[in-house]
């Protein structure tokens, strides 16, 4: 009898409910099952692929001949902006998150994600964001300032239609979905792995999702800050990005690209993970250099935040700044190169099977390298000055986005489609799709390198009749339509598979990881038992017990079960020993720390903008109108609310419920008083005609303190809810982690105020 492991099952369910496999259509809308949500993400991605594709086909028709009048510049601007925004945020991101949502729990031997309802929320937030963005077409015009939406073009006086406001709000909502999904991934991967799986045995796709999630948590706050500031500029006439009133248009670029560069790594890292699964399976060899793949992934994630200025080489920041970022941009090519060599080495000497998935993987190696080389050429500043904002960039980004991310998604699609749908796709048609798409893609974008080098600028609705431009554009357009035909074929393949495909076996590819141990498609409950995991290829070890990846270690029993505390004789089945309460505490604790971390980044961006503005002469002089004394007093009250909450936590721990309730009420009182004090300060300032639109100082002050106040308000509402619940007797069992979790958030909010107070109120007096 082989060793088997019991997977910890959730013990609580809603009363009166039973688990059933009824797949009615309406069930999809209310589903919290990660597999269904994963499929929803994937369909969303396909839908927006079609929409974004149609947008760009129209663009390419416009570019078919010089001086074309197929459409005017306004329409053109909207189409290319929406094409870019759609493809990045509503095709690539949902597809990646779809695969991750579906497969991360399966690959770690869990029965669902850590927070299933949050999972559903993440999807619907993304979907809602997309709807909001597209509603702009009906509301007076889509955003038309490019997907990166530079200031001052994005300001209300230059872009008066509401399109950009929809851009901001749509992306804010879908960004919330992305961030919450990432929190979910981290907690799932770190806390819900099957007991025998150590982190060094994590499948590489899961590793990349883990690293990627941290990237998301750190990068999206910068975008959110920029979008929030832009909304304030546009709606309330704040002065963040308008140079006329002391703001800084380039601040937008800094904030956007601080997000934007990590974003491109967010879109490629999981795909690297997919390839790290596909290459070993279809070469029948283990991945070459597991540690290097993980290490280079972490290196990419960390370096990603140190290169963003390379998008701004042409903005006149100076040679000094440019040279540092040129160096770091050259450096970041190294970890990626390491991975390419790892995959090549994996293939070397293996028995390669050319499934469609593998074909896309091999094509990726070539196309992504081309994209990478054109990218590295941009790290050399003078070359960037010549080629930026030309079609060379367009070629580069499409080679990495399509040749990299999209090929990876297609590779993953054909790899995992049998598992998801339970049916095998038509191999012949799929190969037709592959070739049609690759030929179309290369036709479209290879020539654009030449067009860019010849000087054709991007984002301009037409071009003059210069020698060579027309024919190249026509080739590009023909290629675009070939790609469209290929996508049409893909849809046909997908539908045909779903309707009449051959039933797929459990393990069609003779693969290595845990998701292939389930049925195709997996049942609602993924696993009853999980095979033991002793290497990075657990399923393969199970299928080939004579050729396992791990070395037998005689005293493995010592280190295996930290929960047990006693060495086990090797070979006995391992049980999930931790109590459910203990597990729940650990994952809520991790979750709130991640949320606090991402909110901290958001405040860092706001504070940095504030400090940046304080360098403008006259800015801090206006802070003379601030009432430091009373705000100081109210601040002390806020800090003491942290203390009272801490007392509440202590009393909860020792079982004194009356004291718990009392201290919670005290916390609410103190927090509310602080908000009252803030309100007083605001009232005084507004009375003196200092508001968010009056001056740069007003803008900075009200935004920073306003967002903080919002966080305090949210915290107070939550504390009021838990106080009410504690009066009802809800926390009597002393095992709940809610009080402690909310406490982390509340202490964080107070800590932020310490920094805000120092920066806004105290520092003008120090730095006079």
């Amino acid at each position: 009898m082989r060793d088997i492991v019991l997977v910890p099952e959730p013990e609580e369910s809603l009363p009166g409910m039973t688990v059933s496999n009824n797949q009615g259509l309406l069930q999809w809308i209310s589903s919290v099952d990660h597999k269904q949500i994963g499929i929803l993400y994937l369909w969303l991605s396909v839908l927006f692929l079609l929409v974004g594709g149609i947008e760009v086909l129209l663009v390419r028709i416009q570019l078919f001949v010089p001086n074309s009048h197929f459409m005017g510049p306004e329409m053109y601007d909207q189409l290319f902006t929406m094409h870019g925004t759609t493809m990045i945020f509503f095709v690539l991101t949902p597809a990646i998150f779809g695969f991750a949502t579906y497969f991360v729990p399966l690959m770690v031997g869990a029965n669902d994600m850590a927070f299933p309802r949050l999972n559903a929320f993440s999807f619907w937030a993304t979907f809602f964001g997309g709807c909001l963005l597209y509603f702009s077409f009906l509301a007076g015009g889509a955003p038309d300032a490019g997907w990166f939406n530079y200031a001052p073009l994005n300001q209300y006086n230059y872009s008066s239609s509401q399109g950009i406001d929809y851009y901001c709000t749509g992306l804010l909502f879908s960004g919330i979905g992305t961030v919450t999904a990432s929190v979910n991934f981290v907690v799932t991967i770190l806390c819900y792995r099957v007991k025998t799986m150590r982190l060094q045995q994590l499948p590489l796709f899961v590793w990349m999702i883990l690293i990627n999630s941290f990237l998301v948590l750190a990068a999206f706050p910068s975008l959110n800050a920029a979008l929030a500031m832009l909304l304030l500029d546009r709606q309330l006439h704040a002065h963040f990005f308008s140079a006329v009133s002391g703001g800084s248009a380039i601040l937008w670029q800094h904030l956007f690209w601080l997000f934007g560069h990590p974003e491109v790594y967010i879109l490629i890292l999981p795909v690297f993970g997919i390839f790290s699964e596909v290459f070993p399976v279809f070469s029948r060899k283990p991945i070459f250099g597991y540690g290097m793949v993980v290490g280079s992934g972490i290196a990419i994630a960390l370096l990603a935040f140190g290169v963003w200025v390379h998008h701004m080489f042409a903005t006149g920041l100076g040679n000094t700044v440019n040279s540092f970022f040129a160096a770091s941009s050259l450096l970041i090519g190294i970890p990626t190169g390491v991975k390419i060599f790892n995959w090549l080495a994996t293939m070397h000497g293996g028995k390669i099977r050319f499934s469609v998935s593998m074909l896309f993987a091999i094509a990726f190696l070539i196309e992504f390298t081309i994209g990478g080389l054109s990218g590295i050429s941009f790290a050399i500043v003078p070359i960037d000055w010549q080629l930026t904002d030309t079609y060379y960039v367009v070629a580069h980004l499409h080679f990495v986005f399509i040749g990299g991310s999209l090929f990876g998604l297609f590779s993953g699609l054909f790899y995992w489609l049998p598992k998801i749908s339970g049916r095998l796709p038509d191999e012949r048609l799929s190969k037709w799709f592959f070739w049609l798409f690759v030929i179309g893609f290369n036709l479209t974008f290879l020539v654009q390198h030449a067009l860019g080098a010849m000087g054709m600028p991007r984002r301009v609705y037409t071009y003059p009749n210069l020698p060579g431009w027309t024919i190249l554009n026509q080739v590009s357009t023909v290629g675009g339509f070939l790609m469209a035909a290929a996508v049409g074929l893909l849809l046909y393949v997908l539908v045909k598979t779903a309707l009449v495909g051959k039933p797929a076996p459990r393990d069609p590819w003779d693969a290595n990881t845990l998701e292939w141990t389930t049925a195709s498609p997996p049942s609602l409950k993924n696993f009853d038992r999980v095979i033991p995991v002793r290497s990075t290829r657990p399923f393969r070890d199970y299928k080939r017990p004579g050729d396992v990846d791990y070395k037998e270690e005689p005293d493995r029993g010592h280190m295996e079960d930290p929960n047990e505390g006693r060495p086990e004789a090797p070979g006995t089945p391992v049980r999930a020993a931790a109590s459910p309460a203990g597990e729940k505490n650990r994952d809520y604790s991790l979750m709130i720390k991640l949320v606090v971390g991402t909110e901290a980044m958001f405040f860092v961006c706001l504070i940095m903008a504030y400090v940046y503005f304080s360098f403008v002469p006259g800015y801090t002089a206006q802070s003379g109108s601030l009432d430091i004394k009373s705000t100081g007093m109210f601040s002390i009250l806020l800090f003491s609310s942290s203390f009272t909450y801490w007392l509440a936590e202590k009393n909860y721990g020792s079982g004194n419920f009356r004291a718990l309730k009392g201290w919670l009420l005290a916390t609410i009182a103190l927090g509310a008083t602080f908000l009252f004090g803030q309100g007083r300060e605001y009232a005084h300032l507004l009375h003196d005609q200092v508001n968010i639109g009056s001056s740069l100082f007003g803008t900075g002050f009200f935004t920073l303190t306003g967002f903080h106040g919002l966080h305090v308000l949210v915290g107070l509402v939550i504390i009021m809810i838990i106080t009410g619940l504690s009066f009802r007797g809800d926390y009597a069992d002393r095992r709940s982690s809610v009080i402690r979790t909310v406490g982390v958030y509340w202490h964080f909010v107070d800590l932020v105020w310490l920094f805000v107070f120092l920066v806004v109120y105290v520092s003008p007096h120090i730095f006079k």
């Binding site: 982190l199 060094q200 750190a218 540690g291 993980v294 290490g295 972490i298 290196a299 960390l302 370096l303 935040f305 140190g306 100076g318 000094t320 700044v321 540092f324 970022f325 160096a327 770091s328 450096l331 010592h558 280190m559 860092v604 940095m608 400090v611 940046y612 360098f615 120090i766 730095f767």
Partner: protein
């Protein structure tokens, strides 16, 4: 001071010279380089960037190198080590905080203008950076494996410090010219390499930003390598087995 530290180290190793002492000697040499040598003079009187390089060396290289080179055996530092290990955030705050502290313009300028008199302040600054570097590196590379944080948490520790460092670098790069006025004025007099004050300020900020980040990244990769090769675990097992 260097000799004093060297003697202390010798005592800790039980009056032997293990291989890791090379690292300690290297750290001491760098320390001397930063505090007493021509680059130091350059940094004090001429270029903010040179000053910056020196301090980064102290905080992020000398300090951690010293920690790294400490041998495992002596029980002298055990209590200090286990105290610190429960409060890794304290070490983090020290490392990060001292950086922000010395960069507050009023403190920085005050310290620089102290110079013609006693040379105490610069030495104090150097010593404080060295000490902070030791504390900062302790939870990551300290001599007692069971007092070290888990390598993956160490990566987050370093990444957070890196963010802080980058933020400050950013601020300095874009700060107005007279923030650190001793450097704004001095250079105009004899400017050896023709670097303008503005460029110098930017360079200093950028050095703090980019190469400094690479140092943190290097630390992360070291931690990762240690985690993946299971060094600590084997050491831990040995210690647990011995204590059993």
């Amino acid at each position: 001071m260097a000799i004093g530290l060297l003697y202390l180290y010798y005592k800790l190793t039980g009056f032997r010279w293990p291989r890791k002492s090379v690292l300690f000697i290297l750290a001491m040499l760098l320390f001397l380089l930063v505090t007493c040598s021509p680059p130091h003079y350059l940094g004090m009187h001429y270029y903010l960037s040179a000053h910056m390089i020196g301090h980064i060396l102290l905080l992020l290289i000398c300090g951690p190198l010293m920690v790294f080179s400490l041998p495992e055996q002596p029980q002298t530092l055990r209590r200090f080590s286990s105290f610190l290990s429960k409060r890794a955030w304290l070490a983090w705050m020290t490392g990060v905080g001292i950086m922000w502290f010395w960069h507050i313009p009023s403190i920085f300028n005050h310290m620089m203008s102290d110079m013609p008199g006693l040379a105490v302040m610069p030495l104090l600054q150097a010593a404080s950076l060295l000490f902070a570097g030791i504390l900062f590196g302790w939870p990551l590379f300290g001599p007692y494996p069971e007092d070290r944080v888990h390598p993956l948490s160490g990566i987050i520790y370093l990444a957070a410090a890196c963010i802080s460092c980058s933020l400050m670098g950013l601020l300095i790069t874009f700060a107005p010219l007279d923030t650190y006025y001793p450097f704004a004025g001095i250079k105009r007099m004899d400017n050896l390499w023709g670097i303008s004050p503005k460029e110098d300020l930017q360079t200093a900020g950028l050095i703090m930003w980019v190469p400094c980040c690479l140092l943190y990244l290097g630390g992360c990769l070291l931690l990762l390598r240690r985690w993946l090769t299971g060094d600590d675990r084997r050491r831990n097992k040995h210690i647990i087995a011995v204590s059993n």
